[in-house]
Amino acid sequence: MEVGLKRRSAVGKNVRKVDGLSLATGRPKFALDIDIPGALVGKILRSPHAHARILSIDASKAEALPGVACVLHCGNVKRIPFTTAGQGWPEPSPYDTVLFDSKVRYVGDQVAAVAAETEEIAEEALKLIKVEYEVLPAVLSVEEALAEGAPVIHDEEDSQGIYDAAHNIAAAVDIPVGDIERGFAESDVTVEEICEIPYSQHTPIEPHCVIAYFDEDGRLVLRTSTQVPFHVRRIVARALELPMERIRVIKPRVGGGFGSKQEVILEPVAAALALRTGRPVRMALDRSEVFISSRTRHPMRVRVKLGAKKDGTLHAIEMEATSNTGAYGTHALTVLSNVGSKTLPLYNKAPHLWFHGKAVYTNLPVAGAYRGYGATQGYFALEVAMDELAGRLGMDPVELRLKNHIRAGETSPIFEKIGEGREGVPMVVRSCALSQCLRVGAERIGWDEKRKSPRREGPWAYGVGMAVSMQGSGITGVDMGAATIMMNEDGSFRLLVGATDIGTGSDTILAQIAAEVLGVPVERISVYSSDTDFTPFDVGAYASSTTYVSGNAVLRAAQEVRRKALEVAAGMLGEPAEHLELADGKVISPRTGKSVTLSEVGHRATYVADQKHIIASASFVPAESPPPFAAFFCEVAVDTETGIVRVERFVATADCGVPIHPKLAEGQLEGAIVQGIGHALTEELLFSNRGRCLNANLFDYKIPSSLDVPDVEVVLVDSEEPTGPLGAKSIAEVGINGPLPAISNAIYHAVGVRLTRAPFTPERVLSALRQGRRLG
């Protein structure tokens, strides 16, 4: 590597987040913060039925309402199957969705869209659309969907890529390694756990929103709150049969995504309304639509069976996942695959593995990408089973993890067997500080002490529990990020990236990487990101890819720009470029002590001699996906009279390689853990027996407030990832996998019952306490 890791002028520092002050002063930076004159308001009519055929739609009354510009529905919009999954092409998700279908598949499904002069008129128009439905029997659980003779949810002819539509199976996996039967037969101890995760929702505080308008050349511009601007452009082009060059997608600041905005849901509707009317259109989901009609986490039931030798060495692991993908199969296969692919390699000592499962259609809301992406569901079951195994072996849970976890220099067959909806690639883990994470975390929470003597105060029982997890850094052989860096003549730089900052701070860390290589302070680098007209390609913000994939692209572009700048300086200083150094905005010859400033270099290249723009672009495709690792320790108090669980302390230690910006890395971990605590204690979408969501608002669906969670304590344990940009790996997702199992295990330590169905509500805790041992 060209840049010595020791010097580090920008990396590893808590520089100011590049957009921090403009956000903290309320500059109009979000999608809906600009006013486009003459913009119509778009609204969507949604299905009141879980499963129904649309026999007829009469929009004439709505169209006649003064102020209504147009109404779109299955009767006047061409039917083109696509997927809303914002994944690389070809998407490993079925093309089972059309913009306006003649069949609805869940309460909240899209029936028609209206564009009108005001929101009030649009709402009024929705009420005037007459839809005649033939109500069909609905399938409201995975069991019903898989039952013999169940109603077929996707009976349309034109879908593509569904695993077994006739049996409501969107996707399936079956990955055997070794001989699982033999593995269990040779084991001294076996345990089995089944854990269940319900419907939960990302709840970014900014709802999904978009403005569609036309530029001076009549091209369609989509200013949208998305994680995947380039995929939005491609998918809108497909869904509306538009040439891609007629579309520009701008991603302004985004008010959180967590996977929910890796879906192309609103953009095609807004684009269609704008094209039909020739007018700008603004649209936003309201909060209940965010809950019901954007995307959710895949509800899942995961069964894990472990076999181990007496000394605690894992010998066989079986994992079976049954995933509910809801009405459409977006991300169905890849989330399912990740249940195994992101968990099983962690315990690579076991030679016999079997990972299998199904993703099943139901007439319920659509599941999609959500931070953790299957790993969260997998780790819940795996780490609860590990806790049970430790108990059965009479071993400390920390020791059991230390004995079995993957180490640097080791591999797992799973890396090669499971990839992004297809085979993966073999990979050796090059950096892993999990042992140290375990030791530091145990020390920090006082593990040995608290484990020995669980406290009791009146009705309150206290306990400690732990769990570990890993994730990846991008998708091998699929993801691609690109960057362009250009030097201004004053020695400052412009960094253009497709990478998509959705609040994660990626604009800042990418600027830090460039600044490090270019020997300037971060303030000398201005970043512009995610505009399909002006920045190079990037797959977007998902799969924990940005730091690693986009960061490596920035690193390479910066190295090239540096080389070019040094070449110009070589001419000025009369010395070969190899002998020169770049630091503090100057090129220095250590031999003569002479130097030129980058501004002098820039002026010379721009205006004086051998003129050229010092500029370079680079792309990066990961050949590996180095996992970050984390260990989680928590202390809970369980009120044995009411069943209330309080998380008293939560300690997380993580190895994300070299943290480019420690505070931002900590923030990712803290935020992910609090989301995970929400999953563990309160978050669950509830449905009536007709499939209607009962708590689609922020009052009844409780995400943690500042009073519901402790001050999460995080410690970053550095390692150095040799393939990472300046040693870095990812951090965004790994933290959300820990709270469910760690809290469940802590409850077990406190009161001796295992909570295996999330969330661990007072009713469930009480009922488990009454049954004495477990709640299935």
């Binding site: 987040k17 903290a24 002063t25 505080i205 609040g503 994660t504 505070k663 923030g667 922020l698």
Partner: protein
């Protein structure tokens, strides 16, 4: 109907509809820091000060602010001359996506105007009606405690 109000220190005379929310009025007047996260009073993203008290703009009708003083985040400071609270949020790493930030800063402003030495618990209590899905609240609490310290040190204007 037309009403007088004082918005960020300036007298305004504005047309409002009877059923219009203060959130809608303020965004219409260009105060885009006032965010809509739910429109049902549950998230706090639309928090502004009404006569110095933090309120959720989505739960107040525009005509109710007739003759009253409304302060939004824009009224505290801007990029060239930020308020110490705004500085503290950046300094502490409390801004991730930044969508909850305006509302958080407004409740923090109200808290620190009556108590410049709050405990971490008091800070958590004060912001408990403002949801943040990104940060886990740790660095938001840090930021408000930092701003309070600056206030005690006389670093506020």
């Amino acid at each position: 109907m037309k009403i007088y109000l004082e918005l960020n220190g300036k007298q305004r005379y504005e047309e409002v509809a009877p059923g219009e929310s203060l959130l809608s009025l303020l965004r219409r007047l260009g105060m885009k820091s006032v965010k809509q996260g739910c429109a049902t009073g549950d998230c706090g993203a639309c928090t502004v000060l009404l006569d110095g008290r933090a309120v959720r703009a989505c739960t107040v009708f525009a005509p109710q602010v007739r003759g009253r003083r409304v302060t939004t985040l824009e009224g505290l400071g801007d990029v060239d001359d930020p308020h110490p609270l705004q500085e503290a949020f950046v300094e502490a790493g409390a801004v991730q996506c930044g969508f909850c930030t305006p509302g958080m800063i407004m409740v923090a402003y109200e808290l620190l105007s009556r108590n410049d030495n709050p405990t971490p618990e008091e800070v958590r209590e004060a912001i408990s009606g403002n949801l943040c899905r990104c940060t886990g609240y740790v660095k938001i609490v840090d930021a408000i405690l930092l701003a309070a310290k600056w206030k005690r040190e006389g670093k506020w204007r």
